[in-house]
Symmetry: C3
Subunit: 213 residues, 3 copies
């Protein structure tokens, strides 16, 4: 399995892209709340790196990635700042963003599974670790923007992460060829996520109107 940060250059580049993409979408959310420039960059960094940070804190896996490699902080901050300057253009690139965000989800999920695997966690925790890495950054973003997290309300986002993690983790048990399996998982997760967006797949909702206790 590739390490964090991945030594393989393709995955390294993908993980940088994922950080940048998640930071840029968070910057747009910050702009909708009229945050100042410093706030935009902070929200971008927290969103892009928050998932991995929460995972590492929960697993006691120190030092954190961005503490060891502050370049990740720089990438996230610069990506958010560029978004301020190019916000009009960024909006037109909506489709590109959806793809980049999906890449981020899948790459983060796989890296989260890797980390849990390295610290000898059990299979359920490997899956949960992937899901936290892929999804928790967006939850932090929504909390800081004072929204109910999108993750809990709609779209197949957590589910994509779980399926990706399950598929990916199979290789740990079967000891399959790393590169092939990583590529397969990546393709599967990305396809699932893009199909879910395209066809607006959603989980059933639980609507409950009982009184507050």
């Amino acid at each position: 399995m590739w390490n964090m940060p991945p030594t393989d250059s393709v995955l390294q580049v993908l993980s940088f892209i994922a950080v940048a993409a998640q930071s840029m979408t968070a910057a747009l959310a910050a702009g909708r709340r009229s945050m100042d420039w410093a706030g935009v960059c902070m929200l971008g960094a927290i969103t892009a790196l928050g998932g991995g940070t929460i995972r590492d804190v929960l697993l006691g896996h120190y030092p954190l990635l961005w503490v060891k490699h502050p370049i990740y902080l720089v990438i996230a901050g610069v990506a958010a700042f560029v978004t301020i300057l190019l916000s009009r253009m960024v909006v037109r690139l909506n489709l590109a963003f959806l793809v980049l965000d999906a890449i981020g989800l899948v790459v983060f999920t796989m890296s989260g599974c890797d980390v849990a695997w390295q610290v000898d966690a059990s299979l359920p925790i490997v899956i949960v670790s992937g899901m936290i890495t892929g999804c928790a950054g967006g939850v932090l973003r929504d909390i800081l923007c004072n929204d109910v997290p999108l993750l809990f309300r709609s779209e197949l986002y957590a589910s994509v992460s779980v399926v990706t993690g399950l598929f990916y983790a199979t290789a740990f048990g079967l000891q399959l060829n790393d590169t092939v399996w990583t590529t397969l998982t990546f393709a599967l997760g990305l396809t699932f996520r893009l199909l879910a967006i395209r066809y607006k797949w959603e989980m059933p909702k639980f609507v409950f109107s009982g009184e507050e206790r």
Copy 2:
């Protein structure tokens, strides 16, 4: 003192019940925000296990309970899911839920005191550790539901936890018989909480209308 998870089977069962009860009340809160099924299960697990998780992270007490014993994740997730299916019935069981939730508060508080005691924390930290374990999960639930935490606004919840913890921790100093003291603490905490609900005991509120700075 009993360990986490308690070796004593009664307390083991009580702690499972507590996790399930807290997850189910969180699931109802999720339903009020029309979360999807995955969101309901996530909110349930975060609420039920969040208090202990925050305590362990603050005390540097690794591995986390649910990382070591993923069965807790499963119980919380299943309890939330069952709540979706049986929401109408669950509501009618309102009284049962209040009791289960009170059991959760007391059991979590005692387990939090135990953990702090095991890592040689001082008495104030033992009490705070119990309070965090008992109360912080509900704070996470309210943050994720975009509410001001109920804990800070009304009902004797934190106070019950503090009183329970103080009473329980006395035994650490006096080296009293474990089983008897645990039972006594449990009865005291539960009674206090149920009386507080029954008679709507509340702390005085601090109402301040000065301007924002």
Copy 3:
């Protein structure tokens, strides 16, 4: 460099004042949401000690300050409680509070830089550590009060922290005389913050009205 808690008595006193000041401003915010007395004290303690706590958790720097020295919890709790009793007077002291809060920001920032330096973090992480220590408590306060964090929206707060941290950290590299440099940094940071308040210096905002994706 002085340790946490600073051995030097002046800095020790300043750090106690900083904790009390941040707790008191949080108590006023709690009063605006009509929290009960226990909630006010909890919000005060979380705000005053939250920044240092998040920093220590992120850096894996255990035990936490308030776990080792519960006196900090007591100071924060008492300060919040006194605010309830004296809220009318506290408001009239608005100017004094702004100064105390500014002292808190600068003292916390310096202590955060110190801690990161002690665990051999790189320069960017030293700065970020100072910023988290100075600013994250206020973010927790705003999340718990169900607001978009003020930090992200207005006033030079994070920027003051970054400038203070940069200036302070220069001394680590140059091995300058501790006391002189600490005093200089303190004066610079405090002046910058007070000027920023006086003249309403603000960062430019990023206002974006594109649709939610």
